[in-house]
Amino acid sequence: MKPVYIFSTIALTSLVILLTAPYLGLSTTLDSELASHILMQIRIPRALLAFIVGAGLAVCGLVFQAMFHNPLATPFTLGVASGASLGAALAVFFGLSFSFFGIDSASLLAFIGALTTISFVYGLSRFGNGFSPEVLLLTGVAVSFFFTSLILLTQYLSDIADSFKILRWLMGSLSIVGYDDIWRLLPIVTLVIGLVCFFRRELNLLTAGDEIALSRGVAVKKVRYLLFFSTSICIGAIVALCGPIGFVGMMVPHICRLLIGQDHRWLIPASCLFGGGFLILCDAVARSAIAPAEIPVGVITTLLGGPFFLWLLIRSRTHNS
């Protein structure tokens, strides 16, 4: 099938999800004023946030996979998420409760944690043979494990209430009220996705390998620095606000690649829309499956996405052979 048809299908589906999700499970017995308040102040912002976060995670994951020629490379594998989580855990542990331009202390520390981790991983990988993807990935994984242990330690030393707060943060959540957080996150995510779109040709060549990219004229190192830092900042901002929502960044680009092929001119917008729609769907399931209680959305993304991904993988293997 032509990419344009597949893309249109993805775009249409995401749009339908975006438009219908806020109404899902909205009780009709409530009086109209309360219902419209819930819709405008809770449901719509939440769907929008899910869309932005999903789109950002998917596109950043796509960039990492292309840059490092590794299907498992995501900003999460490179320790950005664990750095952010450690920041948030420390904020809870030390009982910090200040706010800075309306951003609460946990988010702020998470963002600082994410940026510190990127700089640290990047700095470490500079030793030896420069900016090699393998070294960077391994450094990221090592740092990730180290920080995970520190998070566990922080949790162990906390009292029950704080420990639960940390755990809840680690599971990821999209519950917001009002639009302030959206206005903070939207510019960063839009800017980074826009930047990634500029680099669609370079990303195509990078998937073909560094040597081919260089001989076609891509300044591989420069492009990689730029994309590495900008996507990491984007991920840092997302994780700081919503916690580490796993799997979207790794899985959505893969699914899109299986559906639409390797060309980033289609792959970037497709991942963006698919990621957005997918996360709204996951969030809708998360809040309605055992209503009135809520399942952490991170749990749902993995539960829904994992089997679907496996099915797609097996299907494409049997189709090819």
């Binding site: 500029f198 040709r201 390998g209 560094d210 040597e211 001989s215 004229g217």
Partner: protein, 262 residues
Amino acid sequence: MLCTHHLTVEFAQKKRLDDINLQLEPHDYLCIIGPNGAGKSTLLKTLMGIVSPSSGNIIIADSPLEQLSQRQLARHLSYVAQSHNQHLNFTVAEFIKMGRYPHHGVFSSWETADQTAFDNAVALTQTEAFLSRQIPTLSGGECQRVMIAAALCQQTPFLLLDEPTSFLDPRHQVKVHQLIQNLNQQHQVGIIEVTHDINHAVQHSQQILALKSGKAIWTGQATDFLASPHLSEELYDQHFVLTKHPETGQQIALPSEQGYSR
């Protein structure tokens, strides 16, 4: 014009290339020969900006290499690597079209000049028949032609080829040799080719550069190479017998069954 002055490349405390001096015009055809690990591939990669030189200069069309952006460099040189990533999930057409990258800005679209370059590259390499196929489904010979087509799409005055026929059967070897010959003679593309085949180098190229342990031990007209009888033995640490090609009468070297002892 492509020149190197005292080009030296060092990594892991070892000199891979030592004081290499070259001068090539866009109609030249240079073959680089030498034993494994002599630095042949390193030389091509250094020219292409994949490996950085530790000292010496590379001058391309009057500009030093370090002053050229990678994109500018890719308008002068194109490169076909030795082994290919068979997992390139692109169609042949998509992949060849990516060769136009150095001629494009962020906002530019596919224009007539691009289409002409693409059509020429496809016609020269005879890849029309499998344009819509996925690269992993190609045979070795087809794949090599696609790689050359993608490099030709760059429309550069020089083409660097790293052992372009090593993994091909005799029929496809001859086809690729003819293609390179044709590019050089009919289309004035400067060729720098790394090869293990002394006879191919002597028969088809104009100049030969013999590398051993990173040093240029001989450079000159291709036809003169076999005239100095001990040259190939010194180069490869291996005895050769010289004989005449029964068909063309040209002198050829065959590795001797006797080993080699200094």
